[in-house]
Symmetry: D2
Subunit: 336 residues, 4 copies
């Protein structure tokens, strides 16, 4: 397995693959040297150079190259494309030429792949496929929640307001610094994107961007078809599902700053929190209407999904729950 693009997502996928007992990391490809490329070397990941790169830059930095991206691809059965948005579509030709299967990120359009994927949502759909797209962080978050709600109580209608982080922590050139920017097009692209996983779901999504780097927060309103007796049942359902983490009031997690503090303390690497994060006290039932907040760590929630996608493509696990359990155990996510 190879990773093309070693940024926010790529480095996490590489670490995650390295932790799986049944997967092997062939190498990672990067365009230019930086502190992250050095870190890859220190971890023992073979470092390859992406197309646009210059060998002399790596030499000057003292970072040994294992070869070009083409060489990396020739040694791999599957590549996870973690290039910037829309570059993945370009890279597809490269992967086709190398006759290697590929996983694309949610920044690409759905037609880059045969199927869009979420492990809790539609694991089986990726079985045996050659090109799979893991949906974006926000879509992953919603799809996971839908995978809990839909089979239990059904949803007549699902409304989400997405309060989006403006930039990742290390992207220091993006704003806004002090303001809220609405995404005027309604629905935002997330609603249609969720339907690549749950085609029947009546969902509407509206998004705004706010000046924070930590996490997205979703405000969910769901009109249930067959509501449970109380919110406690909903809490229990989320608590009982992998890739969800709920905070109780006594834990004093007020907002995303404390979720990140929890993540740092847990120490799974890169202060990631790969689960949907819910607040027990925010799960509310009012007649048929269920409400809940969830915080989504944009940098890492798609990482376990990428691992499961590989298993589905190569039929390495009997079913979704088995793959999820293997992935989560290896990543240390099982301490719920």
């Amino acid at each position: 397995m190879a990773v093309n693009g070693y940024g926010t997502i790529g480095k996490r996928v590489a670490d995650a693959v390295a932790k799986q007992p049944d997967l092997e990391l062939v190498g990672v490809a990067k365009t230019r040297p930086n502190f992250e490329a050095r870190r890859a070397i220190e971890k023992g990941y073979p470092l390859y150079m992406s197309g646009e790169g210059s060998r002399s830059e790596f030499d000057a930095a003292g970072l040994p190259l294992a070869g070009t991206v083409r060489e990396m691809l020739s040694a791999a059965d599957v590549v996870v494309d973690a290039a910037p948005d829309r570059v993945g579509a370009e890279n597809r030709k490269l992967y086709d030429a190398a006759n290697v299967r590929a996983i694309f990120q949610g920044g690409e359009k759905a037609d880059v792949a045969e199927v869009s994927f979420n492990a809790l949502g539609n694991y089986a759909a990726a079985r045996g496929k050659r090109r799979v797209r893991v949906v974006s962080c926000n879509t992953t978050g919603i799809a996971r929640a839908a995978a809990v709600v839909l089979p239990r109580w059904g949803a007549e209608r699902w409304d989400v307001t997405l309060i989006r982080r403006a930039a990742d922590p290390a992207e220091s050139k993006k704003g806004p610094l002090n303001g809220i920017v609405p995404t005027l097009h309604i629905p935002s692209h997330h609603g249609p994107d969720v339907r690549t996983i749950f085609p029947e779901l009546s969902i509407s999504t509206v998004a705004v961007v706010v000046p924070t780097t930590l996490m997205h927060v979703h405000v969910n309103r769901v009109r249930l078809r067959n509501p449970p007796a109380n919110a406690t049942e909903i809490v229990a359902a989320f608590r009982g599902t992998p890739r969800f983490r709920l905070f109780a009031p006594w834990e004093r997690v007020e907002g995303t700053p404390q979720v990140m503090e929890f993540a740092r303390s847990r120490g799974l690497g890169l202060n990631d929190v790969m689960e949907n994060v819910l607040w027990e006290d925010g799960v509310t039932l009012d007649g048929p209407d269920a409400y809940f907040f969830q915080a989504i760590h944009q940098e890492s929630v798609v990482v376990p999904e990428s691992i499961d996608a590989i298993r589905a493509m190569f039929d390495l696990a009997p079913d979704g729950p088995s793959s999820i359990a293997m992935t989560d155990r290896a990543l240390g996510l099982s301490d719920r």
Copy 2:
């Protein structure tokens, strides 16, 4: 007319009263000297000292006092209480003792007054009353929108997600600096508060706090009873109503930073924007469901409402629309 408390709201109400042809400002009361107290003196507003203050502090600052708050009240027919949240309820005794009518802010509980007020929503309800509460900035914003929507198309259900600014621009001790904090209690207090104006409205509100100082943004989803043919009709209805300002795409107002830039350019004072701000391109109709964003300037939207409240209490205008027109002309809000 007197203003007790000369902070964010108080100084704006004082300026607004000073601009009205039919109202007279008796004075403003403040606890301690600062640059705003000096500004009041420069504007010619008699400056009185609130209860907790110390005369020697004002003397040291060279700011002449016209007397104590009690003296101010004895010269006034009505006082606008602009004290910090929950202090207004304390002050009520003072006002009762001085036999002066009073307007309270939305930070007080509803039972501080005989009626909660919004000019577009329930002007007539404040007629002849002795104690009126102008609802908070967010509630004012929603009530105004409801006053447009309900009589035209009805609303089966109204859902609002409030993305709230964390602090006012000059409140430099509040956070969060980098994060999103959900208000876990659902509904937030805004929904019930709107029902003090529109008791029949089926409304649910959910709030989050984000690190910005400029404006709140509301995401509105309304299921209409009798929807119009298209979103253009909705845009036209908002455009045709006072206290709404809509931005067209060519104006390139991306978010609240540009709304504030517009406000600075308009120059009504303190870079205020007292209207609900909507984006034309964000007004969307999908079957019976209408969606729109509105930005609410927390510092100033309640200011014209306070003026109208006075007129209603003393029957100084034939009806709501007349009072609104007088207020807005005097404040320069009529340039839509």
Copy 3:
């Protein structure tokens, strides 16, 4: 007089010119329509289209054009170039072709003009010149302070740390959102730039960028040649000089948020504060070493300088102090 570029600086210069009794505004030029262009029309400024613009865009927005930038230039004696950084140098050809004098901003290199200018620093040097460059906001701030300190006490050495705002309030695409970015090159360009005004000054400047939009803050350390007896004399010197505003402790101005609140209350337009802002309590003398903070409003401090530059070029005032007094009276800056 004409303004080419109607953004942050251009719109302020236009307003400032419109307020001067001895200057006349021919018009302003802008590339594309937006809410600011509409505002220019509402103020009665003839609106011209810059080179890259498209007439149909203005037509669609309903904004009447007075002509092209070339037509504007042909009607003007002098143009203030307020184009983005480095574009001014391009525009110079246009101005030369139109045989119009020009004032450039500090974002251009010094050699764009015959002389770099600061009204307190070197007014006389711009007399009769055809091309003058008003130095940047930060350089203006330092040059003004040097104009107070150098003639009184001399400076063996002047060290400034510039804590720079990351973006203007309405620039919502710039970061960093949460972090400090040092300008690694030492000295920063500001030191050499100050020497275009005070060639003999031994100055070193170091800069960092921080996530705020309001103002820059300078930390000044000056080793004086002939220090005064105490800091009070330094405070008095600043207080006695135009274009300085000092806050006393009782005014409770803690930082730049309250300076901006003061600016909003003062209401000179666009909540500008065109003076260097100092805190009395921050002016410190320790033997020969003077320390003081100054806050610089990046959007507006250069505006009065541009007006003075025009007067110097056309010899419209007997000397610097006279021009400054005229400018400041017209702008309302004389209320110290």
Copy 4:
């Protein structure tokens, strides 16, 4: 060894002690349950209750208590006080009563202890002492740099501008959100505090607070007595000293956001970076004047110092360099 107070500093000191081969962690004390207390339990740290706490709260949270803080103290030879600022001085009585040695944090006044401490600066001074104060994060950062510079080149004068982070990442109630707040008192307390380590140093410090949570940044200007030939020698001296980490240009670390990204990638726990962070390209020599930036991670730089302080107090290492080497090896800081 025990830790009283399990917040930002306390939890780090506990982790650091747990990693040392020659120290044993008796337990940690906390006032109230939260997610961090649960984390302590998960790590196997005995959890004690601080004085103000309520046992029922811990019971309700299902967190088993090992006893009260007094019981913890009776089992320890030394306690690291990590209570909030100024509470440590109160706690001293408790420690005296328990006859336990104590290490205090820099938020306490110097007279809380017999000596103020920095491992590179004055290790020997803490030998055999019963009460030691580890100086604050900023003072630690400056003292470390002084320990490199002073013995090599001497310093006639040292000027530091401290650009301070406003709050820690999980402190979501502090501001300012958008502004710069100068600390008007000059010198700031840091200068005198550095002199508790280097009494002869002529140092002046000036501080401002900016809206970021990640790290402080220091701008250093040092007039050297015997300057080296070039900046490269200074870079080499820092590179050759423990507790310094320098970034080369090719690593593309622009500012504190990327330093934190590096810290996350390194994965020492809690994304800490316990070293002073310098940028090679920012180290500048201009005649006798050396300039350099350093970024200081306020949450963790004092942690290794606390470990060394214990060793010094109990004479567990032959000298400072030996203790530092032991500490750093155990903490994983030796990968320079």
